[in-house]
Amino acid sequence: MKLHNISFNNLKRRKGKMIFLVLGLFIGIATIVTLMSITESMTHDIEDRLDQYGANIVMVPRSDNLNLSYGGITMGGVNYQTVEFAEERIPEIRAIEYSKNLGLVAPKVLGAATVKDKDVLLMGVDFETELQLKNWWHFDGTTPTAPNELLLGSQTAATFNLTVGDTLNISGENFTVASILKPTGTSEDGIIIGDLHAFQKILDKEGKISMVEIQAFCRDCPISELVLQIGEKFPEAKVTGLRQAMMSKMQTVEMFKTFSYGIAVLVIFIGSLLVFVTMMGSVNERTREIGIFRAIGFRRGHVMQIILLEAMVVGLVGGLLGYLGGSGIAWAALPLVLKSGAFAGLNYSLGGVSLLLAVALSLIASLYPAQKASRLDPSEALRAL
């Protein structure tokens, strides 16, 4: 017979008590784990969504001219850039150190043409990439895919009196209007969007790119670092990070994180209280038993050893079950909370933290009443019956 035999026999033979204690811990820890897992997945989801929302880096050829437009109003006519990038160099963007943080890279060619006696801006794009990047675009008609298909800005369509299915001749080439953009309120309303290579040919800019819009995933990298790295690869380019877009993105995520941490702290507090009260009640009930141990000649330390060993075992079992249970609940509940949300898998550091938390809580909660009881005169502890 050793002290640990007493602990284990108590746990083994008082199963109801043990189950009750483990249940208390289970509920506390499982709630914490569920909430943490769900908010973590939600944060990821929000970050992913925000990352997919448009480009946040723009690369244009460096120019000494000052921009003469502000808020959509251009003074002194359109300043057509004469400098361009070579198209075959565009893939070099992906050669930067933080390339894993790069999403879509959308090169485009810009140029003016005269259509039906009117000057109009043409933008040649890779439709597939562009439509993924501008996922807020809504248009009537079908998604343009072929090189001879066009996407018209709403104002352009009105000016030329064109509808979906009409044919438009630009510099001797015939194009079909596949779709018309709904008004966006930006410069896209007044342009004609077509296939990159087809427009390069019309504009006599074959193999040339006027600007590149880049999408960066910046969960864990500063956007300024990406801008610098791209700038090093293309010294002739002016690379600009859309800081404003990034800031609001980060702020949204931060706000959500703060909110979820706030809730987590609250849940940890309530869970801890639950565990605390349960453990404390259980040790208080044992005052008489502690009196017997002390009367037989057990030192205070012996009594503490017995109780704390039990608390540790209960903490470990409760913590482990709580962690597994909480993860299971999160796995089951996530599809209900987030449409596209998938369970991120078992988070082992969260598991470690829950185990530690459960053990620490049940130890702390037992420590005080155990100490109190072991300090009692054994005769008083026996009278507590």
Partner: protein, 238 residues
């Protein structure tokens, strides 16, 4: 019957008693008032004695026993065990002393419900560093001694009152303590079982075990060699 104040080491300097109770008093605080559970008691107990402390409930006899057992700090006075003032010790030293010198049979047995009979008997040895084999042999020997050889693996609630009392006795004597304290050992038992238990205690005493028994029952006192009567917090020796 005369009030007992004469057995004092100052008066009999050459007599070495096993236990000496000198000027013991115990007060309890009950709200604002102080209750004197024990006014003043002086007596001694010699090695090998079987002494009963008798009194009505509330007379202070159980308090006296717990003070004797090093379980309850007196307000006044000294308890000398082999001339050692046990309340001068720290509470941890007193725990060690209880483990080595004193076996206690509690009122209403006080067995640990989740330990088997054998484990309950082994309990005092859990802190002695005795090997598992030795513990097992000692516990089984003492269980055979109290007539419970075949019930070693039962849990306490599967036993009758008399059997539980025997387990309590086995647990109290397994470490072979020089002093055995018994608090109303027959209080919860029918008269036949009570007689059997008294016989067992007498047998132990015949083998040299010092026993101090607290009881309210004058019948039980007939079995002991000496009775200390406790009345209103004071004691008288027959």
């Amino acid at each position: 019957m005369k009030e007992h104040t004469m057995h004092n080491s100052a008066v009999e300097p050459n007599v070495q008693h096993l236990i000496e109770i000198q000027n013991i008093g115990k007060d309890y605080q009950s709200g604002e008032t102080t209750v004197e559970a024990i006014k003043q008691m002086d007596f001694f107990i010699d090695d090998g004695e079987f002494v009963s402390i008798m009194g009505q409930s509330g007379s202070g006899k159980s308090t006296m026993l717990s003070i004797l057992g090093g379980l309850n700090h007196p307000t006044r006075g000294r308890v000398l065990l082999d001339s050692l003032d046990i309340y001068k010790l720290t509470s941890e030293q007193r725990a060690d002393l209880r483990s080595e010198y004193i076996g206690v049979i509690f009122q209403s047995f006080q067995l640990i419900p989740y330990l088997t009979v054998l484990e309950n008997v082994k309990l005092p040895m859990a802190i002695t560093g005795k090997k598992a084999k030795e513990q097992d042999k000692m516990a089984r020997d003492v269980l055979a001694r109290v007539g419970l050889k075949n019930k070693a693996d039962r849990l306490p609630d599967q036993l009758s009152g008399g059997e539980q009392e025997r387990v309590a006795i086995a647990r109290a004597i397994v470490n072979k303590p020089p002093i055995l304290l018994a608090d109303e050992p027959t209080g919860n038992l029918d008269s036949k079982t009570a007689a059997e238990i008294m016989e067992l205690l007498k047998e132990l005493n015949r083998e040299g075990q010092t026993i101090i028994m607290v009881t309210h029952n004058p019948e039980a006192c007939k079995h002991t060699k000496r009775t200390i009567e406790v009345k209103d917090g004071s004691c008288y020796v027959n």
